[in-house]
């Protein structure tokens, strides 16, 4: 059993390790997945910055083209020379600008602003189209454009973010002079956001502080984590924000997102303008979820080492079975064979040395039990001899133990069943006893040919019928004397063949005279047994003179009381039978009745 236990321990340990691995392995995989997602997010963030830069370049080129339009140059040249701008001039310039805008291919600007060289707005298109005359010089973008630079910027106007670009308007005819500037603005919209992330498998949102500006998806995020992350961004190179910034964990409704925040440049930066790229966090992959995503191909022979797993399983199984056979099955089989031989009587005891370990202990325990039972059987016979006394020669019967073993009897009653050894066992030192309890009728068959007179054959076994109502209240109605003892006796009956009438030998049978005055009351059951005994005795040709009922009943009463005191039984049944050609009487303690 030692190696079997070791093997069981190894198998259990291997199983536990496998379980731990199965439960733990998804976590590193999850971390790797999250890290990859974050890296992908950072890359996508950088791509967004590149796309926005490209977009700015196209917008600046578009603004330059707009500013080079001859009608625009002429209109602003005239406006720059005027001391005061009027509405008529504004409308004329606006109409000119609208025509130019209509000719723009692709994405249309959301506003245009035409500025004279003094920095005054001559006309606006689309946004605040009726406003004019205000000075926009002072805004860095406009100042640069009036100075001759082309550039882009980000403006916030009325809660909307605009990508703006400006270009100077130059009169190219001699003398070449600056006559104003043009500013075009493109609003940051949801459509623009969706276009930016098209194909990137991420989402983007544009924010001005805690205000949502636009996004590829309408998701209500917590702004505080993003604002905090925005506040931590330092340095003048905004293009490094995507790599320098740590990913954020954002929660929106019931979903969690990973996000990276990057600053937006330009004037809008003073109003905490930023954009955030985000992706939904991958589902936490546990053991169950890992199994759930296993594909059929994962279990193919090409992808899974079935031979290794199967071989390992068979090897473990074979080793386990082998160890069990060597350490358990084979010794058990050997012990079983030994026990069967013991039961058959081929052996008197189990061979203790032939069995090792626990099985040797079992054999030793069985041998000890055998020895104990033998000693108790001898003791029981001795007790009965002391109880009933030796059977005198020529008495009415002889004391005899039945062939069944006599288990130890406690005053409170024997333990049910367990005290009776299996029928296969033979007790070599317990004397000539039969294996099974001898039924009452079996005792009627003489062990050797009984000297029965042909003229008067022994009558068939007679059962003393218990009286319908027992004279003594506590005495239960006994079973028929000759009837087989059946189920009502729960505990193994203690059957005794005993010459309980030895003292009455030679007594004159004196029938009971119902009319004669008696000292003691006649027990109907004892009387019935008495009559049967006398009848059997006569049938065996024995003398019945001197056998009186009173002596007979006294003897039975004493015998019954002794047995009840000795065995703790509740009742004693008496059976008349023939033994060695003579009438004999057997007292059987009746234990519990069902």
């Amino acid at each position: 059993m030692f190696w079997s236990k070791i093997w069981f321990f190894i198998i259990a340990l291997a199983g536990a390790i496998a379980l731990v691995i199965a439960l733990v392995l998804p976590r590193p995989a999850q971390r790797v997945l999250v890290a990859e997602e974050q890296q992908r997010l950072a890359v996508a963030c950088g791509v967004i910055n590149i796309l926005l830069t490209d977009d700015a370049r196209r917008r600046v080129e578009l603004t330059g083209s707009f500013a080079r339009t001859q009608d625009v140059v002429g209109a602003l040249e005239q406006a720059s020379g005027a001391d005061k701008l009027d509405e008529a001039r504004m409308k004329g310039v606006r109409e000119t600008a609208e025509k130019v805008m209509q000719g723009i291919q692709g994405r249309q600007p959301d506003f245009a602003m035409l500025i004279d060289k003094k920095g005054r707005v001559v006309a606006r298109v689309k946004l605040d189209a009726n406003e004019f005359g205000d000075v926009v010089a002072g805004r860095p973008l406009v100042d640069d454009a009036l100075a001759g630079y082309m550039r882009d910027d980000l403006w916030e106007q009325n809660g909307t973010m605009y990508f703006v670009s400006a270009a100077p308007v130059v009169k190219r005819d001699a003398p070449v002079t600056y006559v104003g500037a043009v500013v075009l603005g493109h609003a940051v919209t949801n459509a623009l956001a969706q276009k930016l992330v098209d194909g990137l498998d991420i989402d983007i949102g544009f924010f001005l502080g805690e205000n949502d500006v636009a996004g590829s998806k309408t998701i209500a995020f917590q702004h505080k984590p993003m604002i905090d992350a925005f506040g931590k961004l330092t340095g003048g190179d905004l293009t490094r924000d995507c790599q320098a910034n740590q990913p954020l964990q954002l929660q929106a409704s019931s979903s969690n997102y990973t996000s990276i925040v990057a600053r937006l440049p330009g004037e809008a930066a003073t109003k905490q303008a930023f954009y955030a790229v985000y992706i939904k966090q991958p589902e936490t992959v546990g053991f169950g979820a890992t199994l759930g995503v296993v594909r059929q191909g994962d279990l193919s022979f090409a992808n899974f080492p079935w031979l290794l797993v199967g071989g390992g399983f068979l090897l473990a199984l074979a080793l386990g079975i082998g160890l069990m056979f060597v350490e358990t099955d084979r010794p058990l089989k050997k012990l079983t064979g030994d026990a069967v031989a013991l039961g058959k009587g081929d052996k008197q005891r189990l061979a203790e040395d032939a069995h090792r370990g626990k099985y040797g202990s079992i054999a030793r325990s069985v041998n000890i039990a055998i020895d104990k039972l033998g000693r108790e059987a001898k003791s029981a016979r001795k007790d009965m001899d002391q109880l009933l006394g030796p059977a005198p020669e020529g008495s009415l019967g002889t004391i005899d133990l039945l062939s069944s073993a006599l288990p130890s009897v406690r005053p409170g009653g024997p333990s049910s069943g367990s005290a009776v050894p299996p029928s296969d066992f033979k007790f070599g030192d317990s004397g000539p006893v039969s294996a099974a309890p001898t039924p009452p009728f079996a005792a009627l068959a003489p062990s050797k040919p009984a000297p029965v007179k042909p003229a008067a054959p022994p009558p068939p076994p007679v059962a003393a019928t218990p009286p319908p109502k027992p004279a003594r209240a506590p005495t239960p109605p006994p079973a028929p004397i000759a009837a087989p003892i059946a189920a009502p006796i729960a505990a193994p009956a203690l059957s005794l063949d005993e010459d309980i009438l030895g003292g009455l030998s030679g007594s004159v049978v004196t029938p009971i005279d119902p009319n004669a005055p008696t000292v003691a009351e006649v027990d109907p059951y004892f009387n019935q047994v008495f009559e049967q005994f006398v009848a059997v005795k006569q049938s065996c040709g024995e003398a019945t003179s001197g056998l009186t009922y009173q002596k007979f009943a006294d003897k039975l009463t004493k015998n019954r009381d002794d047995l009840m005191a000795k065995t703790g039984c509740k009742e004693v049944r008496f059976t008349v039978y023939v033994k060695d050609g003579k009438a004999a009487l057997k007292a059987t303690p009746v234990k519990d009745e069902a």
Partner: protein, 230 residues
Amino acid sequence: MRVLSAVLVFGLGVTAAHAGSLVGKLELPAPPDRPPVATRGFLDRVENPLTKINPVNVAPYLVVVAEAEAPAPESSIQVSWELVGDSFGKPLLAVPAGAEVVIKNVTKTARSLVAVEDPKLIPGGPINPGGPKSFRTKEAKAYTITASDAPHIKAKLLVVTTPYVANIDDNGKFEIPELPGGTYKLRIYYFNPLSSKDGWLDRPDDAVVIPAKGKGEVTAKIPTGYPLKK
């Protein structure tokens, strides 16, 4: 071309019969180079291919101040200052101490202005379109006026101890009228629009004698690079 781009004359009980005027010209050196753009977009700015870049016009950022030997009494006059859009009409305004400054917002956008050096100088709250907001100057010092909702709006309010101040035109010329006769010290204040630094120019102060009647003339030379006194 206008001779005077701006002239502020503040009544101090001086009558024209006892006053002259000061005319002069500042010899302006080459304007400073434009620094890198402060609010860069996604791209660096690029020069247009058609002509060279316009130089910075520093004239609006210079103020001439004539200080008498005896300090002038505190003024109680009113000076108007227009917010014309994303900038003030005069990016640098000099006023005598005690004068009331009335800022008029001629744009259609409300602005909340504040003096950086003294947040309580300008009463709180936005200046609605068309609406004025006035305050009185006390201490002689320079104040940076900006808008909290439009940081690019930036101007200088210079409070001095004399009422005789003047802005210059694009050619550097200026005139201070109604100047009582006497000797004055000419000082020039400069507000660099590119670096936002400001201060008195680091140069020898010119002594100017103004006759009781007539004009006094002066030509002042501005050092190269517009250096400021430390």
